[in-house]
């Protein structure tokens, strides 16, 4: 599979095939991210399309200081913001604990044993088995947590890249990530409890 820089090189020389390959690689992840930024699917699709236009027309400005994927997601976040996505960098970050206080006793120790997932039935330790439930839980996360988890854990951006795309501080990025991952853990626990 060709790397992004290789495809960009081809795209710079006007190779339509390279554009199609980039679209196949990133259109769906971009749409998923866009859906976490704006409330309607139509607006999300429009923001993604605007982003591709920005890429094609602004390609000469891309010097590779960031990865292509980060650049792409940042253009998308900017387009979504101008299309009405909520600005949140100045909103106060809620403080407090992410893990439910009811899980602990008065001394701060776990009230009930935490069961290792790895020792449960084999099918349950398979990430692929959990993926559908996790996908559903991800869709119901509060938007800011969803954006951070999507970029960091689903798309695999570095923490610095996530801060860059979303224009948030490293501290806030970790708070949102922590809350998001905890909610996903709770969702998976609930699914396992149903079996």
């Amino acid at each position: 599979m060709e790397t992004d820089p290789e495809l960009l090189e081809r795209l710079r020389s006007g190779d339509e095939g390279a554009f199609v390959l980039l679209v196949e690689r990133y259109e769906q992840p971009m749409l998923r991210f866009a859906r976490s930024l704006v409330p309607s699917r139509a607006v999300a699709e429009e923001a993604v399309q605007d982003t591709w236009m920005g890429v094609v027309r602004g390609l000469e400005r891309f010097e590779g200081r960031s990865s292509f994927k980060t650049w792409l997601f940042r253009i998308l976040a900017n387009r979504a913001r101008s299309a009405g996505a909520s600005e949140y960098r100045h909103l106060p970050m809620e403080s407090g604990r992410a893990v439910n206080a009811a899980s602990f006793d008065e001394s701060g120790a776990w009230a009930a044993p935490v069961e290792p997932w790895g020792e449960q039935a084999d099918a349950r330790v398979d990430a692929l088995t959990w993926a559908p439930a996790l996908k559903t839980a991800l869709d119901s996360l509060p938007e800011r947590q969803r954006q951070v988890v999507l970029l960091r854990d689903v798309e695999g951006l570095s923490n610095a890249e996530v801060c860059d795309v979303l224009d948030i501080t490293a501290g806030n990025q970790r708070i949102l990530l922590h809350r998001g991952r905890n909610r996903l853990r709770e969702a998976l626990l609930a699914v396992m409890g149903e079996d």
Binding site: G58, A131, D153
Partner: protein, 96 residues
Amino acid sequence: MRLLRQRDLQCQQAVELVTDYLEGALSRRQRRRFEAHMRSCPNCSAYLEQIQAVIATSGSITSDDLSPQARDDLTALYRRWRSDGPADDPPRERQE
């Protein structure tokens, strides 16, 4: 050693440090405290493993394939953008 024990983390404090630990944001001293707690607490180490399983599962989520229609629509737009020439406001990379 009694002093040291008093500074031991409680489980409720330790779990709130898990993301900072995994993201490499703890100081060396905080990290030592955290790791000492994990070694002595099977519940918190099980919790840490669960969070790592959540991260691995998130990383395994795949996208649906792009529909041929969507691909063709974008390719048609690409031809139009190419013939229109560069935009007035091309996106910039951030200056560090």
